[in-house]
Assembly symmetry: none
Homo-oligomer: 247 residues x 2
C-alpha cells in the first residue's frame, strides 16, 4: 500500500495569481511534498519565464497545470473543498487549522477528490470563492504580521498533507462509506434550482437578494449532502413549481 496515494486525489487551485513567479514557486513547493496536480483560475500571466525559473525542477507540474475560466470549473469532480484564508469574515464555512484540515483531506482522498484553494496574493479569497468551500483553513501565524507569501502558504499546506499521509499510513484508513457524496456540480445545480424557486414563490426579491443564496450555499457546504439527497431536494423543488395538487 502506498501511503501517499491520497496526494494524487488532492488538487491545488490558485485563484487569479498575479505573479507568474509565484506560480512556479508554488509548483516547486507542491512537488517537494509529492503533490502533482495544479489548477489555475484566471492567472494574469501564464505560461511565463518567471514561472519556469522559480519552478526549478518542478517544470513538469507547470506543464500539466490546467487553466480554468472559473473556480467552479477547477473544482469539477471534487467532494471536499478547503479554502485558505487569513481573514476573518462573516458567513464563513467551518474554520479549521492547517493540520486538522490536512488530516481531513487525506482521509477524504482515500477514495474521494479534494481541493485546497488559494486566493490572489494581496486580497485573498473572495467571499464568492469561499462560499464554494467546505472549510476555511487558517495557518497559525503572527497576528501582527500574518502575511505569508503565496508559495509559502502552499508549502506549509503541502507539507501538512504529506505529514498527514505519514500519520494515516501508520494507522489503518478510515472505513469507506458506500454512499456517494454529491459533486461540486450537483450542489451548484441545486443552488441554482433553489434560487429560481425562491424567486418564483416571491421569497427572494430580485432587487434585494441580500446574502440569501450565499447563506444557503454555506449551509449545504456544511451538510455535505449525498447525491441522493440532492436528487430528493431537487424533486421537492420541482414539485413546488409544478404542484400535482390534483393528482
Amino acid at each position: 500500500v502506498d501511503e501517499f496515494a491520497p496526494l494524487a486525489r488532492i488538487r491545488a487551485v490558485l485563484c487569479e495569481p498575479s505573479h507568474p513567479g509565484n506560480i512556479g514557486a508554488a509548483a516547486r513547493a507542491l512537488k517537494t511534498m509529492g503533490l502533482v496536480r495544479l489548477e489555475l483560475v484566471g492567472p494574469r500571466a501564464f505560461p511565463h519565464p518567471d514561472a519556469d525559473a522559480r519552478a526549478s525542477g518542478a517544470i513538469d507540474l507547470l506543464q500539466s497545470a490546467r487553466c480554468h475560466e472559473s473556480l467552479d470549473a477547477a473544482l469539477a469532480g471534487t467532494t471536499l473543498v478547503c479554502g485558505l484564508s487569513a481573514r476573518r469574515r462573516d458567513l464563513t464555512p467551518e474554520v479549521s487549522d492547517a493540520r486538522a484540515a490536512a488530516h481531513e483531506m487525506v482521509a477524504h482522498a482515500q477514495t474521494g477528490e479534494a481541493a485546497i484553494v488559494f486566493g490572489p496574493e494581496r486580497v485573498g479569497l473572495s467571499i464568492e470563492a469561499l462560499s464554494r468551500c467546505h472549510r476555511l483553513v487558517r495557518i497559525p501565524a503572527n497576528p501582527a504580521y500574518p502575511s505569508l507569501n503565496l508559495a509559502a502558504s502552499v508549502q506549509v499546506m503541502a507539507y501538512e498533507l504529506r505529514c498527514a499521509c505519514l500519520e494515516a499510513g501508520a494507522a489503518p484508513p478510515l472505513q469507506g462509506s458506500r454512499v456517494r457524496p454529491a459533486s461540486h456540480e450537483e450542489i451548484e445545480l441545486l443552488v441554482q434550482h433553489l434560487e429560481q424557486t425562491m424567486r418564483a414563490t416571491g421569497f427572494l426579491h430580485p432587487e434585494r437578494p441580500g446574502r440569501l443564496v450565499q447563506r444557503m450555499r454555506r449551509l449545504l457546504a456544511r451538510a455535505r449532502p449525498e447525491a441522493e439527497e440532492v436528487a430528493i431536494l431537487r424533486g421537492f423543488l420541482r414539485s413546488v413549481r409544478e404542484p400535482e395538487n390534483g393528482g
Copy 2:
C-alpha cells in the same frame, strides 16, 4: 503567560546564502510565525535591494540581522543547535524530523537559547557545520524531488516552531463562533414544516412516505444549522404555501 515567549530565544542562522532575495524571503517567513532573530554567516551579498524586496513587511528583521564571519560566532550563547539537512551523511548527529525538533527546541527555549541552522542553497550544510549541531533535522519530503527552496525550508520550520508553542501552551481553540446553533426543537419544527409542505405540493405521498422525512432529518443533523438558517428555510417554506406571486 505568553505562550510564544520561547520564540524570542530561538535564532535562525543562514550559512553562506548565495541569493540575497532568499535572505529577504526567509526574514518574511520568520516574521509571519513570530520569530524575530536572524543571524547570517558569510552572506554573498547583504544588505541588498533584492533582500529588501522579498522581505516585504519584514524589513525590521533584516535591519536587526547580524552578520558573522563564522558559524561558531553566530551560535554564541546557544545550548541547543539543530541543523536542517536533506542529505544523508555519515557521522551525523541524532536525526529528528521537523515536528519533533520544533517541540524539543520550544521546550528548551523556555529557559535556554536555541538555534536552527540552514545551509547554502545548493550544497546544504557542510560536515563541518553539522558537527556543531546536536540534531540533524529533516523535513519529510518527496524522495524523488526533496529540494525545498531555502525560504520554504525556513517557513516550514518557523511554522512548526509556532505550532509547538501553541501545543506547549495548550492555547484556547482557534475560533470562537458568535452564531447560535439551532436548538433541537427548532430543527423539529423545521422538519414538520418541510413535511407539511412536501405533502401540500404533492411531492410526499401520504400513503407511501418512504424514508423521505428520515433522510431530511439526517441531512439536517449533518448540517448543524444555525437558528437564523432555520428561520430562512421556514420563511421559504411559508412562501411555497402562500405565494406572493402578485406582490
